[in-house]
């Protein structure tokens, strides 16, 4: 059931907000042990929020998300509710304020079911680096859910929330959405305020939406977008109804297929994305071959830029003002022990890489060169968007893989991000949706990338495909109401 339909049924009284929340909480209790998608479940507060929402609905004061049960990724601050970033460093950290995105949801009377599991500090593509245990894929619990918003994606796929807030720095909404067979939207950089998002790479981080379909992603995005006095990068251009173009005629739309994205993908993945391309052609869209020549440098450039920023952002975790505090005879010792005990291995790797890229003698060679590659990629995207309206690519080179089969090799993990990092580097909006299943029945994702602040178009184009594509549900997803 789409969120717009859920809204209608709540407003008509056909469904009760408290009953709806109770149903989701029951499903979380029944199924989440097998998945690990939640770190914190907010049972009591969720029921209070549902009651408040139901009163508002009964009084005719409902807003788009009143009474709708959502989850929030655990790197987004929620006042009074622990926010851990799936790290020992913040395992008992309780924010004193809500992130702006959460505040905007609260202003609409949403129900927060809980905080979802993730890779530590958003650094990863598997959601296996969490100090609370990894997330398992609802399609096959022996496989990863993707990352870093794996908990959010698994929860949506298994019907443990109606939609979810995730975050995307280099693919962390889109890739887990693809792995878990749902839809994930990374907005244009500056669309959603980052105030209250615990920073990983500040020039790349964006709060995004994981939902069961593109229309739902747009529905939630409409409530959280827009400029914010607490985030100078949040743009005035981000506003409006992001589902406005859903259902409109997209014949004549020009869809670019950059050839470099298909090299290195599994054959099944390329074939599934090309079948999606054929579908769009069959409904009157024009397909165009195009090129992003600098793709070969993209993964390296992304990791240099993001790690440099992460090294700076994570320097605040010193055990003094908040977070894990180790022992130390002096201040320097205290800081080192706090960070040694608080951070996991991947986080330490990224901090080290970031400081390497920024250090004297290497700054020009690595960090500055990466920024020039970023500028070049942006220019190459602009050239493509002179001739195309959206770009269609795979979301990941493969479907979800077995837990433990790759995570110990950081380079292999980083290279898996090849299909998602360029939209992040360029600051462009991108949406991932299921376009097929591999021989093992695992979902395959396609991504549609659009011009800056043109989320409406990619949502509408994605929606069109989804309405004619028959998804296979996983064994956790409930039928009926959810």
């Amino acid at each position: 059931m789409r969120l717009s339909e859920l809204r209608a049924r709540l407003d008509s009284g056909e469904i009760d907000a408290v009953g709806l929340t109770q149903e989701y909480l029951k499903r979380i209790h029944e199924h989440d042990k097998a998945l690990g998608s939640y770190i914190t479940v907010c049972e009591r507060s969720a029921l209070r929020e549902a009651e408040a929402a139901q009163s508002a609905i009964r009084a005719g004061r409902s807003k788009p998300l009143s009474g709708i049960p959502l989850s929030v990724k655990d790197n987004i601050c929620t006042e009074g509710v622990r926010t851990t970033c799936a790290s020992e460093m913040l395992s008992d950290f309780v924010p004193a304020y809500d992130a702006t995105a959460v505040k905007r949801l609260r202003d609409e009377g949403f129900v927060m079911l809980g905080k979802t599991n993730m890779d530590e500090f958003g650094m990863g593509g598997s959601s296996q680096t969490s100090c609370f245990g990894g997330v398992r894929n609802p399609y096959d619990t022996r496989r990863v859910a993707g990352g870093s918003s794996g908990g959010a994606a698994a929860a949506v796929a298994a019907g443990l929330c109606a939609a979810a807030l995730g975050t995307d720095t280099g693919g962390s909404v889109r890739q887990p959405a693809a792995f878990c067979g749902v839809t994930g939207l990374k907005p244009t950089y500056g669309t959603v305020s980052r105030f209250g998002l615990i920073a990983f790479a500040s020039s790349l981080d964006q709060i995004g939406v994981i939902a069961r379909c593109a229309e739902d992603a747009g529905y939630v995005l409409s409530s959280i977008c827009g400029c914010d006095r607490n985030d100078a990068t949040a743009s005035r251009l981000a506003r409006g109804n992001y589902t406005q173009l859903v259902g409109s005629d997209i014949s004549g739309l020009r869809i670019g297929l950059p050839r470099e994205f298909f090299k290195g993908c599994r054959d099944e993945v390329s074939a599934a994305v090309m079948r999606a391309a054929d579908y769009y052609r069959s409904i009157g869209c024009e397909l165009a071959d195009c090129s992003l020549p600098s793709l070969e440098y993209a993964v390296s450039a992304y990791y240099l830029i993001s790690s440099a920023e992460a090294a700076a952002n994570l320097s605040r975790f010193d055990g003094i003002k908040y977070g894990h505090r180790g022992e130390g005879d002096d201040c320097a010792g205290l800081i080192k022990h706090s960070r040694r005990e608080g951070f996991g291995t991947e986080v330490k790797r990224r901090i080290m890489l970031g400081n390497y890229a920024l250090s004297s003698g290497y700054y020009e060679e690595y960090y500055n060169r990466a920024r020039r590659i970023q500028a070049k990629l942006r220019a190459e995207y602009e050239e493509i968007f002179d001739k195309c309206d959206v770009i269609l690519t795979p979301t990941a080179p493969s479907a979800a893989y077995a837990i433990g089969s790759r995570e110990s090799d950081p380079v292999e993990m980083y290279l898996s991000d090849i299909c998602t990092v360029t939209a992040s580097i360029a600051g462009l909006p991108a949406i991932s949706s299921v376009c097929g299943y591999d021989a093992d029945g695992m979902p395959i994702g396609m991504s549609l990338t659009g011009r800056a602040f043109d989320e409406k178009t990619i949502i509408a184009v994605c929606d069109r495909f989804e309405r004619d594509f028959e998804r296979k549900e996983n064994s956790f997803a409930g039928g009926g109401l959810i």
């Binding site: 008992d92 950290f93 004193a96 500056g190 500040s202 020039s203 914010d228 006095r229 985030d231 100078a232 990068t233 949040a234 743009s235 005035r236 251009l237 600098s294 070969e296 440098y297 390296s300 990791y303 240099l304 090294a311 320097s315 010193d318 055990g319 003094i320 908040y322 505090r325 005879d329 002096d330 201040c331 010792g333 205290l334 800081i335 080192k336 022990h337 960070r339 040694r340 951070f343 330490k348 790797r349 901090i351 080290m352 890489l353 400081n355 390497y356 250090s359 060679e365 060169r369 920024r371 020039r372 590659i373 970023q374 500028a375 070049k376 220019a379 950081p410 380079v411 980083y414 290279l415």
Partner: protein
């Protein structure tokens, strides 16, 4: 070429510390990671006219004095406090 000496120096810069075996392991990881990062050397930055873009700040709020968060709330997450202050080991002497 990343060796243990470089890794140890990076660890110092990063406020991290490792045992000797951990240092060996992370040196191996960093060697492989830097080899991947070296791909950027194939990009001819000198021939590339595009300058890196700055992040766009669209909304600078007026510089005015406003209230902040209650001190008590901010201190709730600190492990060691005294008289509304964060306590740390001696920094000097």
């Amino acid at each position: 070429m990343i060796d243990k000496e470089i890794t140890a120096r990076l660890a110092e810069l990063s406020g991290l510390e490792f045992t000797d075996s951990e240092l060996s392991a992370i040196t191996r990881d960093m060697t492989n990671i830097i080899e991947l990062m070296d791909r950027v050397r194939g990009f001819d930055a000198e021939a590339e006219p595009h300058e890196p873009d700055a992040v766009t700040f669209t909304e600078l709020r007026p510089d005015e004095c406003r209230g902040s968060y209650p001190v008590g709330k901010i201190l709730e997450n600190a492990k060691v406090i005294k008289d509304d202050q964060f306590v740390v080991p001696k920094v000097v002497g």
